[in-house]
Each structure stands twice: as structure tokens, then as C-alpha cells.
């Protein structure tokens, strides 16, 4: 039975691997063990993300979404299960910690542009330290990519001198210059107001339409999940596993007019019910922890 499942999983990933960046998460469990107190963050979670898919991971705060991202990125080890990237093993029982690599670029919740480098130097950093490009070539490429993202005017400014929206866009450019297979985004627009957020969404979609990179996007904003995603994967509260998958069959390119359509509203409703249940559970669990 288990073998059969595994074969099925393999079949799915190989049939979808037309492009690059298919992520296969198989029965992944992560238990934190700080001083003997076991905290199960992820429980037997399985998820197949197709190459070039925008997969939105939705769940209440602290449900273990970020843990999953950290395991894929190679920041944390997993306890059991396996994760494959394009049929290559990232981490599994014999190799619990994935190697960090430029094929999986992370855009962090609080932003991690190096404050001591200009946006241009930040973007050029990856190809430069990897020795793929010479310094001047890396800077040229970085300038081109910032230009494409509409950030050329601020290329020579430090991250602290530009708005958070610009900084976040530059950070995505910094990730994309490394030509990653997967872009891992951890609530990148969390602290932004609705107006800025919608501008960021359109910028991200525009970048996605250009690159078709696989996107693993963590959020707890449902409208964001439906607007951006091919699928919205609703996670249960800790320990995290897949609760419900909402497929968003809305053609691309999408724009903000979509937000007021009936189809969009229905999809949000569908996901909302599942998320709401988990939010209540998370809230009650939190109450218990405090009590």
C-alpha cells in the first residue's frame, strides 16, 4: 500500500515536471525538542506542488507553515518524511537537513535586504559570491533586472532609504537573479496596508508571468491567497497538515478587477470556512497554553 502510494506520488511529480521547480512533500513530520518538551509543528504533511505553480499556503499564525518553509529551505531539519525537488531528494530520513542553495530562494517576513548594501549591490550579491558572473557583469545584470521591476531610480539607494514596498520588490528581484527553481515567500506583505499590498500583488504577478518560477507563498490573508494562487492550501492548526485545497481556476494574467468578481468571492468563501475552523482551534489552543 505504502509502495503504491509512493509510486503514485512519483508518477505525479514526473508527469508534471515539464518545467522546473516541482516540489514533492511526502509525509513530512517535524518535532521540535527543546529540552525534552516535544512540540509537533508539522504532522505527516504531504503536498505535491507542480513546476511553475503558485501554491499559497494558508493557515492561522503559528500553525507550522513557516516550519515547513524552513525545512524546504534547509534552515531546519525534518524529523521524518521526505522532500523532493524535481525528483531529487532534498531531505529525507538519511539526510534530515537539506543543503541551502540558490535553487530555493527565500523572501523573509521582515525583509532581509542587507542594510549596508545599496539595492543594486544587494541584487548583484548572489551571482557575485557564487562566482557565476564577474562583479561588473553581476552589477549590469542587477541593473537590468531592477529596471524591469521599475526600481532603476532607486538602485543606488540603501534599503533604509526606500519604502518597504520598494524594498520588498527589490528583495524578490534579488531572489530571482539567482534563477531559483522555487521562490519561497514567508508572509512577505504582512505588515503592509491594503493599498500597498495590491500594488505588490500586481508587481509579483507581473514578475511571475515573466519567469513562471514555482512559488511557495505563505500567508494568512485569504484574498491574497486566491488572487495570487493556482491553489490555496489550507493548513490545520499546529501540528500542520493539509486540511483543504482550493483550486483557483482563474486564467492569468489577472488584475485587480478580479477582486470584485463573483467567482473570486465564492472561492474566498469556500476557503474561509476551512480557515475559520482552524483559527478557532488555534485560538482555543492558545488560551489553553496561557491558562
Amino acid at each position: 500500500m505504502a509502495v503504491k502510494e509512493k509510486n503514485a506520488a512519483q508518477k505525479i511529480s514526473s508527469t508534471t515536471a515539464k518545467g522546473r521547480g516541482a516540489v514533492s512533500i511526502r509525509n513530512v513530520t517535524k518535532i521540535y525538542d527543546p529540552e525534552g518538551v516535544n512540540v509537533m509543528a508539522v504532522d505527516n504533511c504531504s503536498l505535491e506542488i507542480a513546476a511553475g505553480e503558485v501554491c499559497m499556503i494558508v493557515g492561522p499564525s503559528g500553525c507550522g507553515k513557516t516550519t515547513l518553509l524552513n525545512v524546504i529551505a534547509g534552515f531546519h531539519s525534518l524529523t521524518s518524511g521526505e522532500i523532493y525537488l524535481d525528483d531529487e531528494l532534498l531531505c529525507g530520513p538519511d539526510k534530515p537537513l537539506a543543503e541551502q542553495g540558490a535553487d530555493r530562494m527565500v523572501v523573509f517576513q521582515n525583509g532581509a535586504l542587507f542594510p549596508w548594501k545599496s539595492l543594486l549591490d544587494n541584487v548583484a550579491y548572489g551571482p557575485m559570491v557564487q562566482g557565476i558572473l564577474s562583479k561588473s557583469d553581476a552589477l549590469d545584470k542587477a541593473r537590468d533586472m531592477l529596471d524591469e521591476a521599475g526600481l532603476l531610480d532607486v538602485a543606488d539607494k540603501f534599503p533604509g532609504e526606500v519604502s518597504s514596498g520598494m524594498a520588498r520588490r527589490a528583495e524578490i528581484v534579488r531572489a530571482l537573479i539567482n534563477d531559483p527553481k522555487v521562490l519561497l515567500l514567508d508572509e512577505p506583505y504582512r505588515a503592509m496596508d491594503a493599498l500597498t499590498k495590491s500594488i505588490m500583488h500586481e508587481a509579483l504577478l507581473e514578475m511571475y508571468d515573466r519567469t513562471k518560477v514555482t512559488i511557495f507563498f505563505i500567508t494568512h490573508d485569504l484574498e491574497e491567497a486566491i488572487f495570487l494562487g493556482d491553489r490555496a492550501v489550507v493548513m490545520t492548526t499546529r501540528p500542520a497538515e493539509v486540511k483543504k485545497i482550493v483550486s483557483v481556476k482563474i486564467p492569468r494574467p489577472r488584475d485587480y478587477k478580479l477582486l470584485s468578481s463573483e467567482q473570486f468571492r465564492l472561492l474566498v468563501e469556500e476557503a474561509k470556512e476551512a480557515v475559520h475552523e482552524e483559527a478557532i482551534k488555534a485560538f482555543e489552543a492558545g488560551e489553553r497554553e496561557l491558562a
Binding site: 542553495g101 532581509a112 542587507f114 549596508w116 550579491y125 559570491v129 540603501f158 539567482n178
Partner: protein
């Protein structure tokens, strides 16, 4: 109508031209500061001129010479080469001790931060020695070193060293882990990580340590100069100038010495701030 617009336009041009000076002249904080200092000097002058108010001696200020006498004394002192020699000697001692403390302290703090074994071995003795005040090292320092000059330099070095190390260590250890993860994901080698992330990430702490260390250095130098006195082989310095003025009974000159040390300390920390801005252009915006 057009005239009005024109004249309004002229006015704005003139205002723009004058605005910089005007802004300074209208800066209330600046004026309050100037007024406060003038009032303070006046108060000091009055209090020390009329030693007694209603039959009671004015406390503290009544015992010292008035600002006019200090100024007279200063003008006289400025013409003596010995005074300038004192400036030179103190600055040399401060910077000798300080620079050696930077050269030794920054790598030492970095090594403590990045290498666990190094930290396990060297941090405990460091922490035992750190609470000892630099001046408590004076007797040991006299035994350690053949000349007074070297003894002063050593005590000065200690004053800055511990502060710099503890700041570098703290700064390097508290770099946001996201920067390290981001850099590693982008393929940074250990050396890249150190040179391009840990080092610039620690710079603000290095300069904080330097600024605090510089302050301690001046305290130590002045105290050491007072203790060492004229000496046979060395001596002088602003601390010695102050102390010998006191021994000579010239209170006005003592105050000249105090203000001189204040100015010297201010110049030194301004220098650190200036260098800090050169090294950390991204911090200029804050």
C-alpha cells in the same frame, strides 16, 4: 493681479535665499542653548565675584575664580609651549592606547563571536579580568613595563580594550539570522559570510564600542597623568597640567585644564563619529 503674483514670487525667492541663515537664526533650540550658557557664565561670574550673599558664602562656585579670571589665565597659558605640549602628549597617549585596543580588540571580539572553541577557552578569563577598573592596574602596570610612558599606554589600552571587545562580541552575535540565511542561500562561502555580512553587520557595534572606549581612555589618561606626576623620564599631559596647577595654587588654571580636557574629549568623540559615518554610509540616514 499679475503684480501680486510677481511680488509673491519675488518674496519666495528671497525667502529661499535667506532661509538657511534664517532657519539657524530662528532655531529656538539654538537660542535657548546660547541663552542658557550665557546665563550660566553670568551666574558664575556674579557668584564668584561677590563671595558672600547675605552673609552666607556661596557654596561651590564661591570658592572658584570667576570666568573672567579663567579667561585671563587661559590667554596667558595659550602662549606657553608647555600647554600645547600637554595637549600633544595626552592625545598621543590616548590614541596610542586606543588604536592598539582597536587593533587587538576587534579581531579578538570577532574570534570570540564566530568560534565556539575560542569563546569557550578565552571568554571566562576575559570576564574575570573585565570588571577590574583600569586604574587598579596601575601598580601592576608599573612593574610590567620599563617606562612610565609604556605603563600609561598599557592602562589606557585596558580602558578601551574591554569595552571594544564586549561590544564587538555582542554586535557580531546579534546579527539578524535572516541575513546569514539569505547570504548562505545565495551561495556565500564562510569567508564571504564573514567579510560581507558579519563584518559590516558588526560595524555599528564596533563604533559604539569605540565611542565609549574613547571616553574611558580619556578618563584613564588624565588619572594616570595625575598619578605619574612629572616623573624623571616622562610626564606632562593635560592631567599633569591640571594637577600641577592645583599644586601651584592656581585655581583659574585648574579650570582651564578641566575645560581643555572637556574639549579634547569632545574633539576625540567627534572624530570617531565622523569616521563612523565614513565607514557606514547607510547609517547616515538615521
Amino acid at each position: 493681479m499679475t503684480d501680486a503674483v510677481q511680488s509673491a514670487h519675488d518674496t519666495t525667492a528671497v525667502v529661499a535665499k535667506r532661509s538657511k541663515l534664517r532657519k539657524l537664526a530662528e532655531n529656538k533650540t539654538l537660542w535657548r542653548g546660547i541663552t542658557a550658557i550665557v546665563l550660566f557664565v553670568l551666574f558664575w561670574e556674579i557668584c564668584s565675584q561677590s563671595k558672600e550673599w547675605f552673609g552666607i558664602q556661596v557654596p561651590f562656585i564661591g570658592k572658584i575664580p570667576p570666568p573672567s579670571a579663567v579667561l585671563d589665565s587661559w590667554v596667558e597659558v595659550l602662549q606657553r609651549p608647555g600647554y600645547w605640549q600637554s595637549w600633544y602628549l595626552s592625545f598621543m597617549r590616548v590614541f596610542l592606547g586606543f588604536i592598539i585596543a582597536m587593533i587587538v580588540g576587534i579581531p579578538f571580539g570577532m574570534a570570540l563571536a564566530v568560534n565556539r572553541y575560542f569563546r569557550d577557552i578565552f571568554f571566562p578569563p576575559f570576564e574575570v579580568l573585565r570588571p577590574i577598573p583600569p586604574l587598579a592596574w596601575v601598580p601592576a602596570s608599573i612593574i610590567f613595563w620599563p617606562t612610565t610612558e609604556l605603563s600609561i599606554a598599557f592602562v589606557t589600552f585596558l580602558g578601551a580594550f574591554f569595552t571594544i571587545v564586549i561590544n564587538v562580541l555582542g554586535g557580531a552575535r546579534t546579527i539578524d539570522v535572516q541575513y546569514l540565511r539569505a547570504a548562505q542561500s545565495m551561495g556565500a562561502s564562510q569567508w564571504d559570510l564573514f567579510r560581507r555580512i558579519i563584518l559590516p553587520g558588526t560595524l555599528p557595534s564596533i563604533f559604539t564600542g569605540a565611542a565609549v572606549g574613547m571616553g574611558i581612555t580619556w578618563e584613564v589618561v588624565v588619572a594616570a597623568e595625575m598619578i605619574s606626576g612629572g616623573g624623571q623620564q616622562s610626564g606632562g599631559g593635560l592631567g599633569f597640567f591640571l594637577w600641577s596647577s592645583y599644586m601651584g595654587g592656581s585655581m583659574a588654571q585648574v579650570i582651564v585644564g578641566m575645560i581643555s580636557i572637556g574639549i579634547a574629549g569632545y574633539v576625540s568623540s567627534s572624530l570617531i563619529r565622523y569616521i563612523g559615518q565614513l565607514f557606514m554610509p547607510w547609517r547616515r540616514i538615521f
